[in-house]
Symmetry: C2
Subunit: 246 residues, 2 copies
């Protein structure tokens, strides 16, 4: 039985990796991943076979990792954040059905919702929804409906993939959906390049968020009706009782 | 300026901690936390002042940590999972306003949604909502409404605090809310004692979930309409297009 680890690297360099993730890479003789992410952990891969593939070739990348493991290698398939949140763990487990001799283990990492929240303060202290604005595999109508229902439910909302070159106005469109149910004064926050060089963050209102620049390296947080700004931080209280006594 | 780190320990022992979290504890001379969590990292606290407080005294615990930091100590306030998800980071930043000389840094950890997902397979690959069933600080009506809207939005739903002695039927009640909009055949999963001795997990249907035992150490996952069972794992596909080509 050969082993294939799906390893979440967290947001940036190896400081954000768990001990389990580090050990899995150590134990592996082969590391597979998207070029950029493999480079982020270059200090851990000396002496190992490193196979990197370009962006958006997830199926190909998973199959490469499975083939290597089936050939007897111990393989770490690395990805940014957590492979279980908009990551490769799903496709990997689907494809792994064809490779019964490969044992797949998923090792969680810090996803952008959590690492971004820590940069901004504490926006996710209470119930929240995570929504990707990428309509590559999901029709926009479904995304818009989820935004509306999440706003109606007064969830804090964390947006992944808020915009790209082809989808330059998607964050605006998303804000417009949320504005149907939440106030323009709702406290929001934006983090870019979490845990990497050039990390930036800003707290703003929902009205301001509509016109903020965003790209694929940006994670967006839209507060619930209770979320507040404290200094330059975004904080959601734990509940709706106001005694604060516990 | 003295330093106070809010450190997320992840689900279990130090294997799940990030390098940054480990270094923060190393750097601190004082460690504050709930007794059980402080014991989980006993191997890291030798030679340090350890101050532990009982459950549910979060305000007291945060104030203790702030007082220690204000007195010149470097303090790590530790908590299970991620302090930013139903954790102490929010209360801490609210109280920290009274301690301007203390610099608070939030260090994220692996929250149960991510660690539990990795045990079950890949349930959170697409948009999801995280909801706590604890009605200590949130009225049940608000929780029920969020469950209904999340089910209507076809989010994967991750439930924290699904039941306790006083709330023995809350998971049943939550399933009933979701069943208004999702099929009884919806794929679900339950994980108990994530990353700790006695870890258990099971994949089941929404109809079966209704009658599953659960407690404060259980994390529950309710799939969306696309979530499937693969072997004994729970996997949500990435989107709604079926070509699977990318």
């Amino acid at each position: 039985m050969s082993k294939l680890y799906a390893v979440g690297l967290g947001p940036g360099n190896s400081c954000f990796m768990t001990g389990d993730a580090l050990r899995a890479i150590e134990e592996s003789d082969t590391v597979v991943g998207y070029t950029l992410y493999v480079e982020l952990v270059a200090d851990l891969t000396a002496g190992k076979t490193v196979l990197s593939t370009p962006m958006r070739r997830e199926v190909e990348r998973c199959r490469l990792a499975l083939e290597q493991a089936a050939a007897g290698h111990t393989v770490a398939l690395v990805c940014s954040g957590d492979s279980g949140v908009y990551g490769m763990a799903g496709v990997l487990l689907q494809l792994a059905q064809e490779y019964p001799a490969v044992q797949v283990e998923i090792l969680p990492g810090i996803t952008a919702a959590c690492s971004g929240a820590a940069v901004l303060g504490a926006p996710l202290i209470h119930d929240f929804a995570v929504i990707s604005l990428s309509d590559l595999l999901t029709p926009w109508e479904k995304i818009a409906r989820r935004l509306q229902l999440a706003a109606q439910a007064d969830f804090v909302i964390c947006l992944y993939n808020p915009a790209s070159k082809k989808r330059h106005d998607y964050l605006q469109r998303a804000c417009d959906e949320v504005l149907r149910h939440q106030s323009p004064a709702t406290v929001c926050g934006v983090v870019r390049n979490i845990g990497r060089a050039g990390q930036q963050s800003q707290v703003c209102t929902l009205a301001q968020l509509r016109d903020m620049p965003a790209d694929m390296f940006t994670t967006v947080f839209i507060g619930n009706s209770q979320t507040m700004q404290i200094g330059n931080r975004m904080v959601t209280p734990r509940g709706y009782c106001t005694d604060g006594a516990r």
